[in-house]
Symmetry: C3
Subunit: 201 residues, 3 copies
């Protein structure tokens, strides 16, 4: 029950990130809803295609579409409000990040991937939507440029996929992994942590 | 028979949209043919991957490649002629839109998707090629920015996928849906209909 | 054994092309490794999805990730060295091109595609990584704009997929096709061969 609520929250907040970008790019109403759906579901669709779970969850039921539609409409009609809520949006986005990473990693494990690649696929589940959103608005994905985002998802996912080795059961590692990814992300935001960059010069 | 001719027309015209863009972007001969193939087939490839119908139709036979190659060569050697034919190209593009949406929606229905998501996948079949074309030329997809295009495809697809509820047989709803999408698109072009945009300011 | 070494070389060099691009775009350490992995593996992932071979090789084992990680770190810490090695990188890239095209074409043939479309999929295996790298850095793919690159891969792949018709066994056509693609590419680079472009004016 809690998981389902958090999942809805995660999809909704990821969809908000697509919807607000769409408004900023002056897309039309269809574009706003479309980008909301893409930002919320591309990561999961990619994961499902990789493990052969078709049709992907995003198309198997209308739930994710309905949540994305709601988020898109909120962005379209209340863009200023969403902007003012930047702080809670960062919080919920971190929750979505942790949840998507853990759920993605577990599905990949169940599909038979080894723990390392399952964690990679969990991370891609969490960052895929943001990448698709950025590519569709002709930008180099944010997640490749700054902040600790993907690595937080990866760390949480690893906790889940390697937890079995130290005999910790999934019902412990899953919430632990999600919480760890979320906290790592929030601390990184607050401390303005960034990964190093190489200089081409 | 009529369906097959219309299908060839649809692929050819969608391929033209990729080929002309490629010429405008000063791609080379390979780039022109490649973008023609991508614009004509990405929507169908995406749909087939989503419903697990692999290899996708575009790769299962050489027909779509041959049609795309022909369209690409026409763009390469007769770009000015295609430009002058803007009006018929809009007409044929609307035919392709309706046809792709309906065929895509029916395949999605047969694959077991619910009527709403089948209509969404039909719409994505129709708009996917244009999106891929725009992303490959580093633009935000046109379909997200203006005009009534995706919604026309969605409306036609819905007619097909929900037609069963009011006991209309597929051989009625399919041509009806395609014609409806096509007409809606053409009226929207003539009347310069646009969806509203939100203002980020 | 030789094949396996060449395969590792191919993945490593393709990953270098992603890693150097990432450094030039001033991506962070994660972005460099990510783009290295994408440039080395997107072509193969696309092919595997098209023929239903899931999970794709890139996710089924950790080998490709490890090679990509190594290449990414080399780019990150020794960008200047890689730049100075432009000539050997072109050579190894040509080896990777030929190898990816041939391996991709054979896998597509074995999956039941006809010889022409198997050669197309072999070519896409070879050029897909570069396309994904360019799209993720918001550029129109290089391969669509100049030089003989995709066609060299296609020629080598055709040699493999049509070789059966003239009764040449695969253990002859495979190395022959890879060598042919590689040589064609290297001659094209040296002679500055380009395909013609159409003029939109």
């Amino acid at each position: 029950m809690l998981i389902e609520i958090l999942d809805i929250v995660g999809i909704f907040v990821f969809a908000l990130s697509g919807g607000t970008r769409a408004v900023e790019q002056r897309l039309d109403l269809f574009g706003v809803v479309f980008l909301a759906f893409v930002a919320a579901n591309s990561g999961g669709v990619f994961r499902d295609v990789m493990i052969g779970a078709v049709p992907p969850a995003a198309f198997a039921s209308w739930h994710d579409l309905a949540i994305s539609l709601a988020a898109g409409l909120v962005c379209f009609f209340s863009y200023q409000t969403i902007r003012r809520l930047a702080a809670p949006v960062v919080l919920f986005d971190a929750i979505g990040l942790g949840l998507f990473a853990v759920v993605g990693a577990r599905k990949a494990l169940e599909a038979g991937l080894n723990p390392l690649m399952a964690a990679v696929l969990g991370m891609l589940t969490a960052i895929g939507g943001g990448i698709a959103r950025d590519v569709l608005t002709a930008r180099t994905p944010m997640v490749l440029q700054r902040e600790i985002y993907a690595l937080a998802a990866f760390a949480g996912a690893c906790l889940v996929t390697f937890g079995g080795y130290v005999a910790i059961p999934p019902w412990v590692t899953a919430p632990l992994g999600a919480a760890f990814a979320m906290l790592l992300r929030l601390v990184a935001v607050r401390q303005s942590w960034n990964l190093p960059k190489a200089s081409p010069d």
